[in-house]
Structure formats: structure tokens, C-alpha cells
């Protein structure tokens, strides 16, 4: 058919044991004349090569802002960002605009919740994938189109050849999301950022896209950060989980351990209030109150006002994210190592 087939696996420049992405003490605040929103307040985490990290949180927890900071997608105007985002050791936050442009798509790429707004409606899927490839690599148009075709096959779009010439509106929601994954993988990125990519999809389509992402991650050795508000979705795909609340990571560790014995009272409350098959006939146990107001930087545990275990010291200082065993961390002074908090 053709001489060389496209190898979609990431191009690794410096193969090493170092995490592909290290976020250090990231702070993001949005400043306007009326008010300041402290959206992210000291987030640090590592993303290992070939790892799928789930970033779980409710609206306003700072999960999407964290994700966008990694690709420098936040508007420069009125956004104050500090900290470090080390991609293969290079700080993304200090890159020049042209380096940022080169990084996007080829090293780090992103898929969004709403594929219909992420694609340009006046170009075909094939044109948009080709444009991206040609922008980043010195290849002919014919070679780019051949690669676009292979990418659509990779994400299992049926009759891929015809689909290349479809406009986004001619595809169903699930198909568009597959096409967006193909676009995101077109320049062999090392890190894929997924911002609620299945939230807008129907249940029977969501599971297909989740399984596709999990398979691609395994086959290609991708490193993925998967942002979601849905514990069930996170459970299907993540190997490790970071739970966010009020712009901070409050708990992190291997997925199964967190689901089975959450240590932070917020994670415990979230799991207890999530409805599952056994809930029927029982009274739900919601977390009382509402999510925090982010108009001030945190001066105490952000969850303390809603926490049933809060004691005076919780209101005195911001708790550290402290280790509980070798792989788990929780930002709670009352969390205990061996058993879940009382």
C-alpha cells in the first residue's frame, strides 16, 4: 500500500527514569478589577512515563485550570501563574512563545470535552489533521494525508478513507471525539491531556471511547492526565488518582487503594455521596454545605467548614500533603496511616 507506515508511538528524546512531567507548587489566580479568584493554590505532582493519572474533582476544584497551565492555554491577560511545569526537565512556564507553539501538539496535546467546538467547522477532519502534521514536521501533503488516514484507523473510525473528507458536523458525537483523539496523536506527543473527554457523550458511547483511550495508552506507552468529575470514569481508566478540592490536591495514591480506603474526609464524603446500585432505599449521606469560595488564598484546611472531623487546628493553618505509607498522600492532619479516619 505504501512504503513506510506511521509509528504513532511517542518520540522520546531523553529516555530516562525521570517523570515525563513534574508540576511544582503551581499557583494560578485570575485577577479582574472586581475580584481575584485563587483557582490553583500550590499543586505539585509527577506524571511517570506510560502512566494514566486521573485528576478527580468537582466544578471549581481547579482541575481544568491545572491541565490548561501545562499547555500554557490560559489567557495571559489577567492570569497570574507561578511555580514550575517541567516537561522533560524544561520549564513550560518559562518557554518563549515560539517554543510553546512547537511544544503544543508535538510534545503535549490535549483533547477537550466538546469536540464540536474544538474542531473548525469549515474544514474537513482530514484537512485539520494534515495541517497540524505539516505545521510541526517537514512532510509532503500526500504523506500527511496518508498519516491522517492511519490515525483514523488507529482510533477505529469505520470507513476511515471516506471520513477524512467529512466535515465535523457530518460525524456523530462519538465519532468526532475519536477524530479529536486522532488529531491529538498526529505528532506523536509524549503527554496527552484529556479534559473530561467523555462527559458530553452518551453512556453506550462513553464506554467505547474510554476503552479506546485505555488501549491506546497501553499500546503506545502514552502518559495521560485524565481530568474528570466522575469517579466511575476515573475508575475505568486511571492507574493513579489525584483528588482536588479548592485548588489543591487533597489526596493522591494508587487508584484501587483510594477507592477502597479513602483517607481524606473529602474523598470519603465524595465516595459516600456517590450513588451506586446498593444505595436504593437508603438515605444518602451528602457532604454538607457548598464548595469553597476562592476569593481568598487558603489560610486553613479548605475543607474544614464542611468536615465532620474538623478540630480547632484545622482552622489554624493550611495542612501539608503528608505521606501515609509509601505511595499515598493526604492533606489532612487527622488522616491516619493504617485505617481510614474514624
Amino acid at each position: 500500500m505504501h512504503a513506510t507506515t506511521f509509528d504513532p508511538r511517542p518520540v522520546t528524546t531523553t529516555p530516562s527514569e525521570r517523570p515525563v512531567l513534574q508540576v511544582r507548587d503551581l499557583h494560578v489566580r485570575f485577577v479582574s478589577r472586581e475580584r481575584t479568584v485563587y483557582a490553583v493554590n500550590g499543586v505539585s505532582f509527577d506524571l511517570a512515563r506510560g502512566e494514566l493519572l486521573g485528576l478527580l474533582g468537582e466544578s471549581g476544584s481547579g482541575k481544568s485550570v491545572t491541565l490548561r497551565s501545562i499547555q500554557r492555554l490560559l489567557p495571559m491577560h489577567r492570569t497570574v501563574v507561578s511555580g514550575e511545569v517541567l516537561l522533560d526537565g524544561t520549564d513550560v512556564l518559562k518557554m518563549s512563545p515560539s517554543d510553546v507553539r512547537r511544544m503544543r501538539g508535538s510534545k503535549v496535546s490535549m483533547i477537550f470535552q466538546e469536540p464540536s467546538t474544538a474542531f473548525d467547522p469549515v474544514y474537513t477532519i482530514g484537512q485539520q489533521i494534515c495541517e497540524t502534521i505539516i505545521q510541526h514536521e517537514a512532510v509532503t501533503h500526500a504523506a500527511a494525508r496518508q498519516r491522517a488516514l492511519e490515525l483514523l484507523e488507529l482510533v477505529r473510525i469505520p470507513s476511515a478513507k471516506q471520513r477524512l473528507d467529512n466535515y465535523p458536523h457530518e460525524m456523530s458525537g462519538g465519532m468526532r471525539q475519536r477524530a479529536m483523539i486522532a488529531l491529538a496523536l498526529s505528532c506523536r506527543p509524549q503527554v496527552l491531556l484529556a479534559d473530561e473527554p467523555t462527559t458530553a457523550l452518551d453512556a453506550t458511547v462513553q464506554i467505547q471511547v474510554l476503552l479506546l483511550l485505555a488501549q491506546l495508552q497501553k499500546d503506545l506507552g502514552l502518559s495521560i492526565i485524565f481530568v474528570t468529575h466522575d469517579i466511575g470514569v476515573a475508575t475505568e481508566v486511571s492507574s493513579r488518582l489525584a483528588v482536588m478540592y479548592g485548588g489543591q490536591i487533597v489526596e493522591t495514591g494508587p487508584l484501587a487503594e483510594i477507592i477502597e480506603s479513602p483517607k481524606h474526609p473529602y474523598t470519603q464524603g465524595l465516595l459516600a455521596s456517590t450513588i451506586h446500585s446498593a444505595s436504593r432505599g437508603l438515605r444518602l449521606e451528602p457532604i454538607r454545605g457548598s464548595p469553597p469560595n476562592l476569593s481568598q488564598p487558603p489560610a486553613r484546611c479548605t475543607f474544614a467548614p464542611r468536615c465532620n472531623l474538623a478540630i480547632p487546628p484545622c482552622n489554624a493553618d493550611v495542612p501539608e500533603l503528608r505521606p501515609l505509607g509509601s505511595t499515598r498522600f493526604a492533606r489532612c492532619i487527622r488522616a491516619k496511616e493504617e485505617t481510614s479516619a474514624p
Binding site: E58, S59, S172, G173, G174, M175, D202, A203, T204, V205, Q206, I207, Q208, L210, L211, H229, D230, I231, G232, V233, T235, E236, L255, A256, I259, E260, G269, L270, S273, T274, I275, H276, S277, S279, R280, R283, L284, E285, P286, I287, R288, S290, P291
Partner: protein, 342 residues
Amino acid sequence: MKQDRSDDVGGPRQPLLIVKDLRKHFVRKKGLLARNASPPVRAVDGISFSVTKGTTLGIVGESGCGKSTVARLLIRLLDPDAGEIIYDGQLVGSPRGISVRELRSRVQMVFQDSYASLNPRLPIEESIAFGPTADGVPAAEANARAIELLGKVGLDPRIFVHRYPHELSGGQRQRVNIARALALHPRLLILDEAVSALDKSVEAQVLNLLTDLKAQYGLTYLFISHDLNVVRYISDQVMVMYLGEIVEIGPVAEIYDAPAHPYTQALLKSQPSMDPHHRTKEAPISGDPPNPISPPPGCRFHTRCPLAQPICSREVPPLRPVGSDGRLAACHLATSSPAVAA
């Protein structure tokens, strides 16, 4: 606790709502160049069901299945093309039954978007009192009712009564919408994705509230959601829709435990597993739901059904009894003992 309803006409055994052969096709605007009118969107295509007093009927299905159109037809935000709606034994819109205006004081609705469904320029007290005032209740009495209802939905009237919608959180606004819906003393509340936009921790609070209000006011609910776990939690009966038709309807526990229709089976199996050790290995069905403009002939699910036989593409399966639990399913292959197809 349960209020005696002086407005009960038909007695306890009369279903509060009977829907017969309801149909709504949306005619699309003729394009400039089109010679013939384009085919209509067959949003709701001849559905019949009834709702027993004091129970909750859950409606589930994917986008485009017609579940929200059903809600809008019932409250006559849309006029049906065909079919009858019988409220407590009285035919709606008939001289010997009840008028649409009378129906609307007995049936109220809560929408998904809590912000869009409140007037941003009215304090919430006035939003709640608006319906009763328009219905002829003196202003002082309507305001007193608004204050009482605010208390009932868990918002302290002293704090909230003069606030505007933008000053409230999503969960608080949805409580206001519930209070507004209750202000006319309805007997049937239609909840169209009413908790879908809320965070999990807040969703549980609102579901507990709905359970309490139902007992206190002797309400009947029609609960529309794409979230199968929430529907299982709150419903007595469940109705599964696919492309404008009912594919299965019956008691919630029986259907969730042993779905008879292959679509119900696929929908339930598509839910994230919530168990990190038993993740979903394979998507139960492939592809997206077809377009309701030109639904497949015969059984509308046959294009995605793993069990489809030649008869399925030729003949429309009738909704017929399956098993002995009062359940109906529209499948040629479903026999009297459910879940043989599983």
C-alpha cells in the same frame, strides 16, 4: 406526614397520569434550495404509559431518544401531533376534562439549567411567588408561601429571601427552582435532568430533599435522567426510551436486575464499573445512536443489536408483557422469561 389532597378526583387507584399514543414530529424548515420539505425529526413516536399516584417514574435513554420532548409535551410546552394525556381521569384539553391552564397548576417542572430557569432580575422570593400571584393568590399570601417554601427546601428565608439568582450556588438555585415548582401546590413534578448539572456532593443533598418533599406533600414524580444510578435510586418504575419509542418499561428493581431488552442490557452494561479490580473489558455495543430523522426500519435498535435476526429489520416489535412482574418490552426475541438474551 402525608398531606390529604382535597383535589384528588379519581381516587387512589386512578393513575395520576395516563398517556396514550403520544406523538411529536418536528418539521424542519425548508431550505432555500430544497425542492421538497425535508423529513421530520421523529422525536416521540407513539408512546403510551401511565404513572400511579405517589410513585416515581424514571425515564432513561440517550440524547435524542425523546425523553425531554415527552416532558415538554406533558406540560404542554409543546403541542402533541397526536395522542391523549389524561390527568387523574380527566382528558386534557377537552371540554369535559381539564384545560391546559388547569393542568399547569397541577403539573410543574424543574429544568436542568438552574440559572436559565430563573429570572435574573427578580429576587428569589418574587420568582417563587410569581406563579401563585399570576394564579390569583393575593400578593401577601403568595409571599408568605414563598418564605415557607424556602424553609422547606432548606434555604434559611432570613438569609435568602431578597437574594438574586446570581448570588446563589448551583445547588441553592436548584432548591429555589424546586420551591418555585411547588408554589402552585402541584401533584406531579416533572424533573428533567434536575440534578445532572450539580456536583456529586450537592446532588445527594437535593435527592434527599426530593425524597422528603415527596412524602410530605404526597407528590408524584416523573424523573428524567441520563444517570442510571440516580434513576435506580429514586424511581419505582422505569421507562427506557430509544429513538422516540419505549423499548422497556416496568418495576425498577426487576429491570435493573434482569433487563429484557437488548438495548436496556447494553445501556446498563455501559455504566462505569466502580470496581478497580473488575474494569469493563469490552464495550457492550458499538457505534452511536442513529439519527432520529430517519430511524432504521423494523426494530429501531436492530442496527446496533448484537442479537438481531432478519425479522428485526422487517417488523416493528410491539410492546408486550415479559415475565410476571408487569413489565413490558418491545423485542421480537424477548420471551416471557426475561434476560434469556443476556
